[in-house]
Assembly symmetry: C2
Homo-oligomer: 237 residues x 2
Amino acid sequence: MSTPAVSPPATRDPLTEEDICRRVRDSVLEQRLSPGTRLTEDKLCTVFGVSRTLVRRAFLLLSRDNIVRLERNKGAVVASPTPEEAEQVFEARRVVESALIAQAVARATKPDFEMLRMHLAREKDALATADIARWIRLTGEFHILLARLARNAPLLAFLEQLVFQTSLIIALYGRNGSPSNCRGDDHDRMVAALEAGNAAEAVDILTHHMNGIEAGLSFAPRDDMEDLHQIFAAKAS
Amino acid sequence: MSTPAVSPPATRDPLTEEDICRRVRDSVLEQRLSPGTRLTEDKLCTVFGVSRTLVRRAFLLLSRDNIVRLERNKGAVVASPTPEEAEQVFEARRVVESALIAQAVARATKPDFEMLRMHLAREKDALATADIARWIRLTGEFHILLARLARNAPLLAFLEQLVFQTSLIIALYGRNGSPSNCRGDDHDRMVAALEAGNAAEAVDILTHHMNGIEAGLSFAPRDDMEDLHQIFAAKAS
DNA sequence: AGTCAGTAAATTGTTGACAATCTTGTTGCA
DNA sequence: TGCAACAAGATTGTCAACAATTTACTGACT
């Protein structure tokens, strides 16, 4: 109940294209929209109660962030990164986030750490109350909050993209047997290392953290054509 | 004359939004459009012979790449990064490009180096024939070609943004007394280091290269209001 | 039965007109 | 003369209708 998950049926809001983007993003993040889902303009128009112009602009922005794929005369589908793209996203995150953490150590102040610890508390709360959607969002946000301390707008914006891509990838390839999200007390330990001014250790924890997430993925039998496999299975039965 | 600098007065071309983007980008890159210039929709419509829809979409894309700034009800102006933003762009480039070079060393093959050396020859040719517009473009492209060898799409796309921003920054703050662009034989030496498999040295050259460019800038008296300063100076004379 | 062509529905692409907003120039008033 | 309110022009924001394309369906033919 922390955020208005579903707004009233879209009346008298002068929604802007950024609102649409955020709503779509959140829906993907909380796995109400799965990768590969087709998004028709009309549907979103009626859902949000706006005209096609806005939806169109939103699609353009979302495609720029690799959240949807736009094909001419075909419309928009929620992006479903290939294993190769996934690998590259993880590599990019290791590079960018390591640098951001090093900077963050140099610039963070006491109130910053309090803010981080408050966030960690929220994460734990969400997990304790089994509010998984909120937990997923918060674990992603942690990395953003951390990155913000480095005070580098371009790198921050880029990491935001990457963090979102990571969520998409986990939604696609995560073995739901072992929750491959940000698990364990890695976040706590990173904050501790940061507060101790130990950038090297913080980076080290992060790297292992990311490797752990990546290792928890399964690219096995659904590279591009997950649907096809299901169809074939159904036919054979 | 290497590229059609100005197309015939915009007749019978089914231009796409990417074309508009590219044309605007190139114009900024070759300093025909200076930072702060206002771009009205109607003007571009008549120039390119397209409807407002396309121009609008192009603006949206360009704003995402920080090439233009979009303000509601105010239209688009060519971006003019502040000194703080400039500093952050350079920092981001150091981070991203170092990692890309390290990867490039690991993955580059013989034909890659031939390609790079051919590019270096083109750079020298442009400089020799005093084709400055082409030279500016080529020096930027060098870094893109290098980055492409690392085979990481997100990092590459991000670096493309940053390289363009760098050009903007040089256009804004470069002391035209000392050509602060990619100067000297840094590019040659980087290729040599790469071919020798010496990633550390290549990164080192790059860092000095970037520092040199940054040091050649002058943020002195024109932070946001360059025009005002000129006007006051004129009044005083 | 299976395949292919043709047609109908649905969806996206484009355009032009109209409304809202900002900018600029002018007029009236203290 | 200086300032403020007003008005005209220009520019951007929004929308709804129309055109082009793709997709789905139906039916005839082999």
